[in-house]
């Protein structure tokens, strides 16, 4: 029973090894990848179902009891994120063969793709701070390979910056974990939480907390640590961009959510108060970045930053409504960001350029793409009844309850600007006279459109079916507000 927990990690990892062997036969690899991804998705659904019916599942690897061995904890939050990850992975893998070149496919794209999924799932599942670092490295290693896949001049140049900033923050992560180990003598998250609570988080622990926040903030691209993000995310293939945009920064934000709802919750006036300001600045600067450019890929890439701002805002406010809003927004944003990256990839492919000033009247040639973009812009900005609206509504409700008026205004303003920044693609690229000087011969095949439509359908369901989804999310927020539940379930006291 408890072995279910390891399946979301072990299946992609094995799948990655299997497809490495069939690499030279592309057709077999494609079919096998799709099959294995669907198996992984189904397994994720089964594990999610059993977690939601029977409660948290804990795997103590090698039967080493909790504080001593490595443990994997599948609670409602992590398993829901794993399910979302698998949904995105499935969409990406159906999109991939139509978007990648043959050279990229035979250079082990699918292996790295599976390793990335394994790393992300592991980071969500682990209940051990050092293991979190290890899984971060697993997913980063895969991402280093994916970002440079193809080996263009631009890709190489951007990937070196990407690797360097991640390596730097990883080393700080190890140092922070070592210092924390020196201070509390354990790396099991539940036990750290227990011991930090005992000494009521004295000065040194708060310092370590800020160091950890710096590390996760770099990975999650928060203000002022986001400067590395926009450019490296647009240079690889759209599939890779979508996986990065949807998963990598969200692992960072998940770590912040976990660490600052479980371990460091005793000095909120220092840590969580700062989060709210950082959230506001992330929203403003991210959206200014998105407005400043005419490169459609860069617009979407910059839009990651305000989304992260919204999620961290809920963690900073830290009450029932705000936390539910954060979790809702986290899941919503994972799905819509991957859909948008894939969609912009299609637009750049059919238009032959990602420069907005060079395209107009695309709607006459590609009506379906145009309307998909229109819907996704609405979902992203949070127009009711779509999913962004539910998340933002809860966040704003939480903010107003906590008397955080300034951040409420910033959040509303930046939502409006987010809508404009994405709508700009629609207005400038799709509206207007039919451009007869160019002949748009490239067809967007069904294989490119269907995964995007699928992701948007899931996103619409998250919004329209909020009544069905919301109770579970609310349950998670309640669960996060009481760290004792997690500690008791892991340490079995």
């Amino acid at each position: 029973m408890s072995n279910l927990t390891i399946l979301p990690i072990i299946i992609p990892m094995l799948a990655g090894i299997i497809v490495a062997f069939t690499n030279s036969r592309v057709k077999i690899t494609r079919a096998l990848t799709k099959l294995l991804t669907i198996i992984s998705l189904v397994v994720a659904m089964i594990v999610t179902y059993s977690v939601f019916t029977d409660g948290t599942i804990i795997l103590e690897t090698g039967d080493w009891v909790a504080p001593y061995g490595i443990i994997l904890v599948a609670d409602k939050l992590s398993i829901l994120l794993i399910l979302t990850t698998n949904i995105i992975a499935t969409a990406a893998v159906f999109y991939a063969p139509h978007s990648l070149t043959l050279k990229q496919e035979t250079h082990y794209f699918y292996t790295f793709y599976f390793m990335l999924i394994a790393g992300v799932s592991g980071a969500f599942l682990t209940g051990d701070l050092f293991n979190l670092f290890v899984f971060f490295e697993v997913l980063l290693m895969a991402s280093y390979a994916l970002i440079v896949l193809g080996g263009d001049r631009v890709q190489l140049r951007e990937s070196i910056k990407y690797v360097l900033i991640n390596l730097f923050s990883s080393m700080l992560f190890v140092t922070a974990v070592a210092l924390l180990y020196g201070a509390v003598g354990t790396i099991n998250m539940a036990q750290i939480a227990e011991r930090v609570a005992e000494v009521e988080q004295d000065g040194i622990l708060t310092t370590i907390a800020v160091l950890l926040f710096f590390v996760f903030g770099t990975k999650a691209a928060l203000f002022p640590l986001y400067y590395w993000l926009p450019r490296p995310y647009i240079v690889p293939n759209p599939v890779v961009s979508a996986l990065f945009g949807a998963l990598l920064t969200k692992v960072g934000i998940y770590s912040i959510l976990r660490v600052f709802s479980l371990i460091f919750v005793h000095r909120m006036e220092i840590t969580h108060e700062a989060f709210i300001w950082i959230a506001g600045l992330s929203m403003l600067f991210g959206v200014i970045g998105a407005l400043s450019t005419n490169n459609i890929k860069l617009i979407i890439s910059y839009n990651i930053i305000p989304a992260i701002g919204f999620i961290i805002m809920g963690i900073g406010i830290f009450n029932q409504d705000a936390l539910s809003g954060s979790i809702y927004y986290l899941i919503h944003d994972m799905i819509i960001k991957s859909a948008l990256f894939l969609l912009v990839g299609v637009i750049a492919y059919v238009a032959g350029t990602s420069d907005l000033t060079k395209m107009k009247g695309l709607i006459h040639h590609y009506p379906v793409i145009g309307w998909l973009l229109f819907i996704s812009a609405f979902i992203l900005a949070g127009i009711p009844p779509f999913s962004g609206f539910i998340g933002k509504l809860l966040l704003l409700k939480g903010a107003v309850t906590a008397d955080e008026i300034v951040i409420t205004i910033i959040a509303l303003l930046s939502s409006l600007l987010i809508l404009y920044s994405v709508m700009k693609i629609f207005i400038r690229g799709f509206w207007g006279e039919k451009d007869d000087t160019k002949n748009y011969t490239k067809k967007a095949s069904l294989g490119l459109i269907l995964p995007i439509a699928g992701l948007l359908a899931v996103s619409v369901f998250l919004g329209v079916g909020a009544e069905f989804v919301y109770p579970s999310i609310e349950g998670i927020a309640e669960y996060l507000l009481d760290p004792q539940i997690y500690i008791d379930s892991v340490l079995k006291e």
Binding site: Y68, F130, F133, V134, E137, M141, Y144, V148, G151, R153, V154, L156, R157, E158, S159, I160, K161, V163, L164, L167, F168, S170, M171, L172, V174, T175, V177, A178, L179, Y181, G182, I187, R231, T293, N294, N295, T353, S354, D355
Partner: protein
């Protein structure tokens, strides 16, 4: 003993950051290597530097060596070793393709 090692780790961090702020790619990579050495020394020191005791956890045993930092440091060394070798290859290819190893000249142009 612990203090000496921690000061050494601090010196390593300082030199690492000095090197990371240089413009030449190879120097930056040396900076990351030194940074990981510093981090590893911190891990090792956190378990207290004792020798000759067995790593046993038992109520009767009062004097024991903490085995955990050694497990952590080993994992961390392997990871940083792997990333450093990847980074070297990446830097070599980047320098070849971009015809420069100066990070200042790798800013990029709009809409490429």
């Amino acid at each position: 003993m612990e203090y000496i090692i921690l000061i050494l780790a601090g010196i390593l961090f300082a030199t690492a950051i000095y090197n990371l702020l240089q413009k030449q790619l190879l120097r930056i990579i040396i900076g990351t290597v030194l940074l990981s050495h510093g981090a590893h020394l911190v891990i090792l020191t956190m378990g207290k530097l004792k020798r000759g005791q067995p790593p046993i956890l038992d109520d009767a045993v009062t004097d024991y060596t903490d085995p955990l930092p050694q497990a952590l440091i080993l994992t961390s060394i392997v990871i940083s070793f792997g990333i450093t070798s990847l980074l070297l290859v990446l830097a070599y290819r980047t320098a070849q393709e971009n015809k420069t190893d100066n990070i200042e000249e790798m800013r990029g142009e709009p809409n490429e």
